[in-house]
């Protein structure tokens, strides 16, 4: 077989590998935080619409709908950053997968657009009717299902793209036939990977529910919402641990071996990640018993954040291992642009300060009595 893998861009890397990899891992994890709420949250919203109506469901629904558009916007914004860094580090694989997917790759945008506008339509209120929303309940449920399906399809396409870009051996097949089919033909390749992404998002999404439900302090209604969130997260984490092992064992033998023999830094992040995930499971178990327990909530969230970051790092290590026979990062010529890096850092710090100020202003505006988020 001719070597179909393009060479690294001769312009080289404008920064040291470690810096770019760190940024990729961190921004990818941040993207997950918001994306997971958009994805899992849109399914939870469907669930809230079926069954008997109740006060706590209504409250949770309203609050989630208030947060959802901002979360989607931030998921997009924080998605752009890893998109940038993955192109810098792995463009020669990423681009090929994009081209092979072609319109499937562009379909992500259409799905996102439809999903996002549908959310706004679901939020819209009747011009004359004050609180009343447009559309009847069955139609609203249908629209919610549409949003959730669109976001799930996006996750599916991103998984497909990632798998295709990390398995160059599939490229001739993808080129000759259906690019999506080439990835999904072998169940072991993409199914655990996709499920890992999907189920994981309920783990993080459930925690969002806990926070959102208790946003204005704790009462009986809020506690019910928080319990639902904790349960969603708990069940997802349990399933996720099982799927994680399936995913691990489905890896190509050579790659699995390197993970098991500590030949990659990914072994460490993986093992630490699994340990903390078990800790997260326990914390969530207790949280589901006492949903408004503030310290437990913080512990669970901190553990979830750590697991997310570690798994994002493991994900990167996995990419390196899968591509090892084709390319390794040290092969890059590095021409560091220190000037622009410093300017960027200055802009970044200033930007964060502005964002913090904006968030404070907005927060105070919406909580005029200085109501605290925690119980």
């Amino acid at each position: 077989m001719t070597n179909l893998v393009p060479g690294p861009d001769p312009l080289g890397l404008p920064a040291p590998v470690w810096l770019l990899v760190t940024l990729l891992v961190v921004t990818h994890a941040l993207h997950m935080v918001f994306m997971n709420f958009a994805l899992a949250g849109s399914w939870v919203l469907c669930a809230l619409m079926v069954g008997r109506e109740s006060e706590w469901k209504k409250m949770l629904y309203e609050r989630m709908m208030a947060v959802l558009p901002v979360a989607i916007s931030l998921a997009i914004t924080f998605g752009i950053a890893p998109l940038l860094f993955v192109q810098v580090l792995y463009g020669q694989f990423f681009y090929v997968a994009n081209v092979l997917l072609g319109f499937f790759w562009l379909a992500i945008l259409a799905l996102l657009m439809v999903g996002f506008y549908t959310v706004y339509a679901l939020k819209a209120r009747r011009p004359e009717g004050g609180e009343k929303r447009i559309a009847a309940r069955p139609l609203r449920l249908l629209l919610h299902l549409g949003v959730a399906s669109a976001f799930t399809a996006i996750a599916f396409l991103f998984t497909t793209n990632a798998a295709l870009s990390q398995h160059p051996e599939l490229w001739p097949l993808a080129r000759a036939g259906s690019p999506v089919g080439s990835v999904w033909r072998e169940a072991g390749l993409a199914v655990p990977r996709f499920l890992h992404n999907l189920v994981g998002s309920f783990g993080i999404g459930g925690l969002w529910l806990v926070w959102i439900a208790l946003f204005r302090g704790s009462d009986e209604e809020a506690e019910k919402g928080a319990r639902l969130g904790a349960m969603v997260s708990l069940v997802a984490t349990a399933i996720q641990i099982v799927i994680g092992f399936w995913y691990l064992l489905s890896l190509p033998e050579g790659v699995l071996k390197r993970f098991l023999t500590f030949a990659t830094p990914g072994s460490f992040s993986l093992i630490l990640g699994i340990l903390l995930a078990v800790g997260l499971f326990l914390a969530l178990f207790f949280l589901s018993q006492a949903p408004s327990h503030a310290r437990l909530r913080w512990i669970a969230s901190a553990l979830a954040a750590a697991v997310l970051l570690l798994m994002s790092a493991t994900n990167e290590a996995l990419r390196e291992e899968l591509l090892r026979e084709h390319f390794t990062l040290p092969e890059w010529t590095v021409r560091t642009q220190w000037g622009p890096i410093l300017v960027f850092l200055a802009v970044f710090v200033a930007g964060l300060a502005v964002v913090a100020w904006l968030a404070r202003v907005a927060w105070r505006a919406h909580n005029p009595r200085g109501a605290e988020p925690s119980s």
Binding site: F85, I108, V361
Partner: protein, 447 residues
């Protein structure tokens, strides 16, 4: 060298898909930037003059910004990335590897823009007026900064300036057409925001005729900078490379028309805004505001078309050709041949075991199909119809001299002959598939 697979879009070509997404995005993005200034300035004025009508209008306008800019603008912005990465892969890779830190800065401003926009939109009446205005100005500043940064990167493609020699990213960013690009785009942004404001005022159900006129006269201020279009365009023109200037001044009539149309239309709208709407305080109805907005949008798009069009034969001037070949690779490809340097193109041949495209077709697909679609846009057959076979063979080696906006043909002598054969067959209309080119069908030897 053609290390990446190509994306085949039947009939339209990938370039058209990019153009469609980019056009829509440019308009919405321009609106998003201009709208920030309109809101910030408008709110200041409304609060100072205690103009509740204007204030109410701005609240409505901020919703339009949210729905159009934050959803449509943001997603099509990502869309440009998605589409250029598949339609112009090498150019995308070069832009990314040159400008990562500028993109990263752009991203920071984008983040500020989004957060400021939501903060602004959700805190009407919930924070003191001065704070709310500060939020508006934060949004406007961040949005304009992202325009500023993107302008440097876009203008780099047309005028890379010193970068071609130094490979220094500052040379790339601070390139000759960067300042006029910022100036032109800023003017367009303000105008489009002003025109959308007029449209929204007309559509608004809560404004009476007097209120509408007041909003329209206020918005007209954002159109008046359009009279600067002419000097700014002249400045831009002065910084263009010679070949691009030649194209505009007549080498390609379409370019000249677009350029002139863009300037004239913008100037006229600007003059009308000043004399008709600001001085004479006229009212304009829904149809007229739609008409004006359409003119401004077409003018903006025309100027973008010119920017893209005059870049031929390059994607990145003096560096990367429209057909994906880097200038310095020509010699290598002429020596080794196209096929060994195009693993993806020959993959299809081998997979289809002899029935796939032949050398001539591969050459055409790789080097010509970006601008010549067989049986479609800018079809080659009519162009070569009067030519004899000898002239065709002779001319193919000189297409870049015949029309300087074409990249030179590259390939070994045999490959060139195969292309000539293919073209000749097409011209003769015989779909007969000879095997004369089969000898060149050896697999490529890597990238």
């Amino acid at each position: 060298m053609w290390e990446y697979p190509d994306w085949n879009v039947p009939r339209l070509g990938g370039g058209m898909v990019i153009a469609a997404i980019a056009t829509i995005h440019v308009l919405v993005a321009h609106f998003s930037v201009g709208a920030g200034f309109l809101l910030a300035i408008g709110e200041g004025r409304a609060r100072k003059t205690q103009d509740a009508v204007l204030l109410d209008f701005l609240r409505l306008f901020s919703k339009v910004l949210l729905l159009a800019g934050f959803v449509f603008g943001a997603i099509t912005g990502v869309g440009i990335w998605f589409s250029i990465s598949i339609a112009s892969t090498r150019a995308t890779s070069m832009l990314i590897h040159t400008f990562v830190w500028f993109w990263a800065m752009e991203w920071v401003f984008f983040l500020v823009e989004i957060v400021a926009g939501y903060a602004y939109y959700t805190t009407w009446d919930k924070v003191p007026g001065t704070v709310h205005r500060a939020l508006g100005w934060t949004y406007a500043a961040a949005a304009w900064m992202s325009l500023f940064l993107i302008s440097g990167i876009l203008s780099f493609m047309l005028t890379p300036g010193e970068w071609t020699e130094t490979r220094d990213v500052w040379d790339a960013f601070l390139n000759p057409t960067f300042p006029p690009t910022v100036a032109l785009r800023t003017v367009s942004c303000l105008a489009i925001a002003g025109l959308v404001a007029m449209l929204v005022a007309n559509l608004s159900r809560s404004l009476d005729r007097e209120g509408k006129t007041r909003v329209i006269n206020f918005s007209a201020w954002f159109l008046s900078p359009l009279v600067l279009m002419l000097p700014f365009a002249a400045w831009y023109f002065a910084e263009l490379p010679q070949l691009a200037k030649d194209l505009i001044t007549g080498g390609a009539v379409a370019m000249m028309m677009f350029f002139l149309f863009g300037i004239v239309a913008s100037t006229l709208v600007g003059l009308y805004a000043y004399f008709g709407l600001i001085r004479a305080r006229r009212y304009i109805n829904l149809e007229t505001s739609l008409l004006l907005l359409s003119i401004a949008m077409i003018a903006t798009v025309s100027m973008e078309f010119v920017r893209e069009g005059v870049r031929k034969p390059y994607l990145i001037y003096d560096h990367l050709y429209s057909n994906g070949l880097v200038k310095s690779e020509i010699e290598k490809v002429n020596r080794e041949g196209v096929l060994p340097n195009a693993p993806w193109a020959t993959l299809a041949t081998r997979a289809e075991a002899g029935g796939g495209p032949r050398t001539g077709e591969i050459l055409f697909n790789l080097q010509c199909s970006q601008c010549h679609v067989l049986g479609g846009f800018n079809d080659l057959v009519p162009l070569i119809r009067p030519w004899s076979r000898e002239l065709l063979v002779y001319n193919l080696d000189r297409i870049h001299e015949l029309k300087p906006f074409m990249p030179p043909l590259v390939g070994t002598p045999e490959e060139r002959r195969a292309l000539a054969d293919t073209l000749w067959e097409l011209k003769e209309g015989s779909g007969d598939r000879g095997e004369e080119a089969a000898g060149n069908d050896q697999p490529g030897s890597g990238s």
